[in-house]
Amino acid sequence: MRDYSLLGEDGRRAVESGLAAAQWYHTDVPRKEMKALMQRSDAPAIRDTLMLYGAMVLLAAAGIALWPSWWSAPFWMAYGVLYGSAMDSRWHECGHGTAFRTAWMNTVVYDIASFMMMRNPATWRWSHARHHTDTYVVGRDPEIAVMRPPEMARLIGNLFGLFDVRAALGRMLYNAVLGVHPEEKTFVPESEWPKVVRAARVHLSIYAAVLALALAMHSIVPLMVIGLPRLYGAWHHVMTGLLQHGGLADNVTDHRLNSRTVLMNPVSRFIYWNMNYHVEHHMFPMVPYHALPKLHAAIRHDLPAPTRSIRAGYAEMWPVWMRQLRGEEVFLKRDLPATARPYREDFHAAALGTTQ
């Protein structure tokens, strides 16, 4: 049985064996080419951000104007996805600081997206750093979306944010009143603790104000605009998020074996800000979202073949999850192309299929 707690046995063993904070595999890319891929620019993210916020304003306005008719429903559904899903990728990319070249633009979009996704901007910056240090290392990575065995009720409930939002509100309250949680203390340095508490109090105050407004107006509309879309619009970010590492190996130090690149339609790629190139993102987090297709072209000779569609991703994950539910120790092994360099076969024998 795996112990996913950050204070547990598996985490301790990962540190002991050198699996934690290890040197991860990188495909060789000539410095000049990598430098060009890493270049920052404000233009693509300004364009995408104006499109995103502009669409949200129009959709929410249409939803409010047509309320309470059912004709408002499609507008809310579209607004919800931009709020409860596109904000996840904005949170992610701006957290890395790669979306915009200008630092304050990353900060503003990061803070707005953190609020909408109900994530503490200070805590989650650090949890995501740990996710990059120890991707899917059991007991070390605080962002493992699908544990083994998978909790299907949680995965399905989270398509509508049920478990995530309950946990997020609980943690917001805890941080605002009691301070930083002991688990958070394992990855957030003490100098950042006051920021955690301040952000939780700001978020809590805004949500309380929106709730008060809804009560005063005897209407759910204020909550349809702020808060509830984190539930009714979450499905797209959960759908794409589960594809990132679902069903693949854990406890390896090669992103080709534990992450998935999925080819998908342009609308999903806009919502997801190209994070479908997930192996590439993990291997080179310095490359901004708009350059990931080029990075993919540059290193694909060294990566497993990308999954051809969202549907194909679920078709390969689902049977593995079902077998894991029955207690089987199975996962999807990734075939590296003949031209690829293997890495750390001591850690990866099982994941490469050279044992078992």
């Binding site: 904070a21 990598m34 430098k35 890493m38 270049q39 920052r40 890395h96 600081g97 790669t98 070249r101 630092a103 910056r125 650090w126 750093a129 990059h132 240090t133 340095p189 100098s191 950042e192 080179f284 987090p285 310095m286």
Partner: protein, 103 residues
């Protein structure tokens, strides 16, 4: 007084770029700024000891390739989390196309 050590030539590092330099069992990062100056800091990021030579120089900042932490390479000051601890910096001078560092 520590000696000036010939680390590399000015032509070895493109403008707005960084290079690894190992000396005396230690590792450093050498920078060529967009305004043509040269600088030297510790080579490893103070967050999780990843080499900064794989990072990106943006104006006077070096961004770490692992978690995008940033430092001002002129002063070593940590500018963006998860980088919180400053880097040590070392004096650099250029003499006849040679980059000299005091470490």
């Amino acid at each position: 007084m520590t000696d000036w050590i010939h680390a590399c030539d000015t032509s070895d590092i493109d403008e707005e770029d960084v290079m690894r330099w190992d000396h005396g069992g230690r590792t450093f990062a050498l920078y060529h700024s967009p305004d043509g100056e040269f600088f030297c800091t510790d080579g490893l990021c103070s967050h999780e000891q990843v080499h900064l030579a794989g990072g990106l120089v943006i104006d006077h900042l070096i961004e770490c390739p692992k978690h995008n932490g940033q430092f001002d390479y002129r002063t070593g000051e940590a500018k963006r989390a998860p980088a919180c601890v400053n880097l040590a910096t070392y004096p650099v001078k250029v003499d006849a196309g040679r980059v000299l560092v005091q470490v």
